[in-house]
């Protein structure tokens, strides 16, 4: 049995079902992200684990103990909020020590643990400050230290980086991941930012409309999305309309061009969608890429190290990325172009 077990979780607010039959097992020390658009139910699942929402049905088991009916203050769970939620009347050190004081620890022990926590987040000298004297990034690190000080069984992070500016967001996410690894604490991280989810997590749960669409490692989620929603939500995706010619061997046509996928399509017939990531497409012909499509350059965006080009292939706009090379200027808009793809990089979307 896994360390944190969510089985058949359901949550309805009035007639709306926000979470539908949600199952997930999280191993001890694992970092799992819930990724999805707003309103997909990811925060609701997190709040049910924390105890702030009562599940309509289903159970939550932590380390063999069923906590579904426990109140939030009995669950020993650390939580970090988007809005920091530091106690404005307490100093940084008192904030970090709050949970320890509640649990009735001795003064010396509290002071020791608080100092240790402040060192962990790199704010050892700011213990005497009040929250309003800190920057957003510092406040969120204090909130993290406060949540970790009580040595919780599970750490819950509710979009902790969304209120911060871009630069701090990147550095703090690395810091959170490093601290999480160091302490080996089981963590659930809720975010709508795919880059955060992919870069930090052991596993990602992509959610939509209250269900877990796909659960997998960031590599799996990105490279082998199983549903159209996951494919479109995570990363940029090009869609190509195709028509099945022979499902058994995987022959399809894209516009007029025949394409051999060399794999069975499980009896699919008629029109299907093929999906491909911008980085698997190359401009021009290449020996290792058997599928060649022709079109016209529709847009060119020079982003610095990367050039993003959109090619119109028979009405489908296909995005592709090429690296900038100082000796080769980007192609002109409106010129004819050929793009080549390896057939194994073409994803067939099943739904």
């Amino acid at each position: 049995m896994a360390f944190l077990e969510l089985s058949h979780l359901e949550k309805s607010f009035g007639p709306t079902r926000v979470v539908k039959d949600f199952d997930l097992s999280i191993e001890k020390g694992e970092f799992v992200s819930f990724l999805g658009p707003s309103g997909c139910g990811k925060t609701t699942v997190l709040r049910m684990v924390a105890g702030f929402e009562t599940p309509t049905a289903g159970s939550i088991v932590i380390d063999g103990q069923d906590v579904t009916a426990l109140r939030p203050n009995q669950r020993n769970i650390g939580m970090v909020f988007q809005a920091y939620a530091l106690f404005p009347n307490l100093t940084v050190a008192q904030n970090v020590g709050f949970g320890l004081r509640v649990s009735g620890l001795g003064r010396a022990e509290i002071a020791g643990r608080v100092a240790e926590m402040l060192k962990l987040i790199g704010l050892a000298d700011l213990g005497a400050r009040y929250p309003f004297q800190l920057s957003g990034g510092q406040q969120q690190r204090v909130a993290l230290a406060r949540a970790l000080a009580v040595r919780p069984r599970v750490l819950l992070l509710d979009e902790p980086l969304s209120a911060l500016d871009a630069k701090i967001r990147v550095s703090l996410r690395e810091e959170i991941r490093a601290i999480q690894r160091e302490l080996g604490i089981t963590t659930i991280f809720v975010t709508h930012d795919q880059e955060e989810a992919l870069s930090m997590s052991d596993r990602v749960v992509v959610m939509t409309n209250g269900i877990a669409d796909q659960v997998g490692t960031p590599f799996e989620i990105y490279n082998r999305p199983t549903t159209r929603f996951v494919a479109q939500f995570v990363g940029t995706l090009n869609l190509l309309d195709a028509r099945v010619v022979d499902a058994a061997v995987g022959n399809v046509t894209v516009g007029e061009t025949p394409v051999a996928l060399n794999r069975s399509l499980n009896g699919a017939h008629g029109p299907i969608s093929l999906a491909l990531r911008p980085e698997v497409i190359a401009l021009g012909r290449h020996t290792a890429r058997a599928v060649v499509l022709t079109g016209r350059i529709a847009e060119v965006h020079f982003l610095g190290s990367v050039i993003r080009i959109r090619v119109n292939v028979g009405g489908n706009l296909i995005s592709l990325d090429t690296f900038n090379r100082p000796d080769a200027p980007p192609p002109a808009v409106g010129s004819a172009a050929e793009i080549s793809i390896a057939e194994s990089d073409l994803l067939v979307l099943t739904d």
Partner: protein, 262 residues
């Protein structure tokens, strides 16, 4: 333009005179107890009067107890309404405003009818019962001021998230109220408390009808029987009220973390 300015100034001066002249007259009169010279004789007499000391300290104690009871009732109520029953807020607000609409005389007659010696709960039959009754009466009178002050204070903090943060750290409801909510609305509680203090110190109707020797009835008795001392008393009462207002300002300004951007 300049003519309009002159007119504005004239109106301001007239308004100020309307308020300040009676005060000045009262102050001047209170200093004239000794014929021909200005002296603090009236104040000396009043402050020396054992009845003044007794009624005043009684009223102070009642005021302080009212503040404690009011805080214990209002802070958890306002907190709970904000946290769990936001739809009830207009209703609760309306209820807390009722004491401004219903005159104290009506309330106290109601009390006497409900709690007289031949009723189920004969509070007026004993000294302690009467005091309990008057304390709850004063708490009712203080409700509009207390509730508004505390509710405004709660608006300034993120009640829901702070509560959840404290809960996830293991805190119980009483702990959250005492260590998270109350300290953060303390300035508001204090401003409500000073208003309550000023109201209770001068309150007459409740005390007179429940036959309690508080400061209010003493002032009225003085006014009917002496010449100079009532003015001195009024100046003292006025000074206390103003000191309360000043203290509200002071506490708001010097509270340690109130400059926080929340």
């Amino acid at each position: 333009m300049t003519l309009r300015r002159i007119w504005s100034w004239i109106i301001i001066l007239l308004g100020a005179a309307y308020f300040l002249l009676p005060l000045f007259g009262m102050l001047q009169f209170s200093l004239k107890m000794k014929r021909g010279v200005y002296s603090f004789e009236a104040y000396r007499v009043v402050l020396r009067d054992p009845q003044f000391q007794q009624t005043f300290s009684y009223s102070v104690i009642l005021a302080l107890l009212t503040i404690v009871i009011g805080t214990l009732i209002v802070v958890p109520t306002a907190y709970w309404v904000r946290l769990k029953l936001p739809r009830l807020r207009p209703v609760v607000e309306f209820i807390t405003l009722l004491p401004l609409v219903i005159p104290p005389i009506v309330i106290v007659f109601g009390y006497i009818r409900l709690y007289n010696t031949s009723s189920v709960l004969p509070l007026t039959g004993s000294w302690i019962g009467t005091n309990i009754l008057v304390l709850f009466g004063y708490t009712t009178l203080a409700l509009p001021y207390m509730y508004r002050a505390v509710d405004t204070g709660l608006r300034a903090i993120d009640v829901a998230t702070l509560t959840e943060a404290a809960q996830s750290l293991g805190a119980s409801w009483t702990r959250i109220l005492a260590t998270v909510i109350l300290p953060n609305v303390l300035v508001s509680v204090l401003s409500g408390a000073f208003l309550t203090f000023a109201i209770v110190i001068g309150e007459y109707v409740f005390a007179a009808l429940l036959n309690l020797n508080t400061f209010g009835p003493y002032m009225v008795w003085m006014g009917g029987n002496r010449a100079y001392e009532p003015s001195a008393l009024a100046v003292i009462a006025f000074g206390i009220t103003w000191a309360c207002m000043g203290l509200i300002q002071l506490f708001t300004r010097f509270s340690k973390f109130s400059s926080a951007k929340r």
